[in-house]
């Protein structure tokens, strides 16, 4: 996996320059990096930020959120995009903040996806898994890498994947067929795998979906990188709160060694 092996993330305070509800309970939050007092490193797809959703001693843990996009990183006025689903109090407070509010960020953290060296890649996103994979697709567009993106959602009202703005091929599907094609992300991806040759598969989504995609990829002998989710405290490798079992009896430290892992390292579990 590529990315920040050394801890290079720093703490910064940024202004929200945009916050829109883009679907169901999904919000697109744009943060202005310009005013941030420290030079944040350019984030890579798959990396994340630890975001402080409220101030004060009463809110002690940050929330990990993937980078969904960056704009003009090397120019003044650059900004960071997060795609946030409102699922609990932390994400709810973040989504409720109005433009102009400030938010504390720590990052970019973790190791992101490794860019494919050659050939075509398959990107498979389930639900909010679209957040990092959309960023990945845009970065691949920059270097004219070939890919297909499958973005699956439960239904149309929680679907957000503006595929038209991407250069690569792609399909949006929903389990109930209420938007895009009817079907699951894994089902669609399996179809793509039958029709095309891929040199690499990238997956982010619910645990069961990633487990299934990994199985398909390993069977087809295609290298597969998965972005894991785990509840985090520190996000920087000091607390071991995010550790989950690896396939070789080892522990995977999701925040620091991950969140992106080669699928063969992962022991799939049922997270509650």
């Amino acid at each position: 996996m590529n990315g920040a092996v050394k801890l290079s993330g720093r703490c910064g305070r940024c202004r929200i320059s945009r916050s829109d509800k883009v679907a169901g309970s999904i919000h697109l939050v744009e943060l202005e990096i310009r005013d941030c007092p420290v030079d944040l490193e350019r984030p890579r797809p798959g990396q994340f930020f630890q975001v402080k959703c409220a101030d004060g001693p009463e809110h002690i843990l940050r929330r990990p959120l993937s980078v969904h996009g960056i704009t003009q990183w090397d120019e003044p006025g650059h900004s960071l995009e997060l795609l946030v689903e409102d699922v609990g109090w932390g994400t709810h407070r973040l989504c409720s903040l109005s433009v102009g509010s400030e938010v504390e960020l720590l990052g970019p953290l973790g190791r992101g996806f490794e860019m494919p060296r050659a050939g075509k890649a398959l990107l498979v996103a389930g639900g909010m898994g679209i957040a990092p994979l959309f960023f990945m697709a845009r970065e691949m567009d920059h270097v004219d890498a070939g890919y297909d993106l499958v973005a699956g959602f439960k239904s149309g009202d929680c679907a957000y994947a503006p595929l038209a703005c991407l250069k690569g091929g792609g399909v949006l599907c929903t389990e109930d067929g209420s938007a895009g094609e009817k079907g699951t992300a894994v089902g669609k991806a399996a179809g793509y795998m039958e029709r095309s040759v891929y040199s690499m598969i990238y997956v982010c989504g619910p645990e069961a979906m990633m487990a299934e995609m990994s199985r398909l990829a390993e069977k087809a002998d295609i290298p597969c990188q998965v972005s894991l989710v785990s509840r985090m405290a520190c996000g920087i490798g000091v607390c071991r709160g995010c550790a989950r079992p690896g396939r070789n009896g080892d522990n995977l430290c999701v925040c620091r060694e991950g969140p992106v892992f080669d699928s063969t390292r992962v022991e799939w579990i049922c997270v509650q």
């Binding site: 402080k52 001693p57 932390g90 509840r231 520190c234 920087i236 071991r240 709160g241 509650q272």
Partner: protein
């Protein structure tokens, strides 16, 4: 000008601020984000003789004003620590407090010998007694005065370093335990460890932690910690590393007034890895407002 330096059981530290065990890893990770200036010492995550994989995921859950954790003492084991981490740490130059955890008094003694033979920045040993006592059917050592004392003796007899025994406040009478630890020759006390707690997802019915229950830390427990510090300080007079829910410099002064010579910062590090630096910046101003010239002036100064 306020001078932040302290003397803790004979150890000279340039600041009363100490990072708490388990919340600062092996001390090297934070160093790459924050400088270690303003810090008195780093307490390392508890070491055991053999490496431990730790507990089942999920291991953390946020609660109102605090968090639950069930890391399960995941650590690389004392040998890997001494060979892989200590050399790097010695280069950083920050004083280290090494926390040890065992399942028998003999394991504590062995750990103490290993640590004491190591060169470099180690200034003290912290004895984590919130571990199951395998010889006593799994009851936590820290639950009983005798077991706490026995473990402390085992360590004291096997080291020349100052020994701080770290107590749990989830006992009825912490003072009796503190007294037993004092009688066993501890140089000081470290207070408090997490409180046992549990959380359940009401909708699904699953516990929030993979191990069902875990330890509660953070600002929520501060009043319990302040009381434990005051009770033990008053009863034993031993130097105390006090903490539990410290969030800002006002909290640091509160713990000093309750009797803490040094003050530990744990969970607050998760809100901001550089929190201790911010606290170190705020501290002189708060101390000025109390009229204190050095931390020692504040220790145990609560007006009761």
């Amino acid at each position: 000008m306020v001078d932040l330096s302290i003397k803790l059981a004979g150890i000279d530290l340039k600041s009363p601020l100490v990072l708490a065990s388990g919340t600062a890893g092996y001390g090297v990770e934070l160093a790459s984000i924050c400088g270690y200036s303003g810090l008195g010492a780093v307490t390392l995550k508890s070491l055991t003789i053999m490496p431990r994989p730790g507990n089942r995921s999920p291991r953390v859950w946020e609660t109102t004003g605090g968090m639950l954790n069930s890391i399960g003492l995941e650590n690389a084991g004392v040998d890997a620590f001494l060979s892989d981490f200590l050399p790097q740490l010695n280069e950083l130059g920050v004083p280290l407090i090494v926390s040890i955890a065992g399942e028998t008094a003999g394991e504590y003694a062995l750990l103490a010998r290993r640590i004491s033979g190591a060169p470099g920045s180690i200034v003290a040993i912290e004895v984590n007694v919130s571990c199951p006592n395998v010889e006593k059917g799994g009851l936590m050592f820290g639950a009983e005065p005798q077991a706490s004392g026995a473990v402390t003796s085992a360590v004291v007899e096997n080291t020349g370093l100052p020994v701080f025994t770290k107590l749990s406040a989830s006992v009825f009478d912490i003072v009796r335990i503190a007294e037993a630890v004092a009688a066993a020759g501890a140089s000081g006390l470290s207070l408090i460890n997490t409180l046992p707690g549990m959380a359940i997802n009401p909708v699904t019915g699953y516990p929030r932690l993979g191990t069902v229950s875990g330890g509660l830390s953070g600002p929520a427990i501060k009043p319990v910690a302040v009381k434990a510090v005051w009770d033990c300080y008053r009863a034993t007079g031993l130097p105390v590393i006090g903490g539990g829910g410290v969030y800002n410099a006002l909290d640091v002064v509160e713990f000093m007034r309750a009797g803490a010579t040094a003050v530990s910062i744990g969970t607050a590090t998760f809100q901001n890895p550089c929190r201790f630096e911010q606290i170190a910046c705020e501290l002189p101003d708060i101390m000025n407002r109390t009229g204190a010239l050095r931390p020692a002036d504040l220790v145990g100064s609560v007006k009761v």
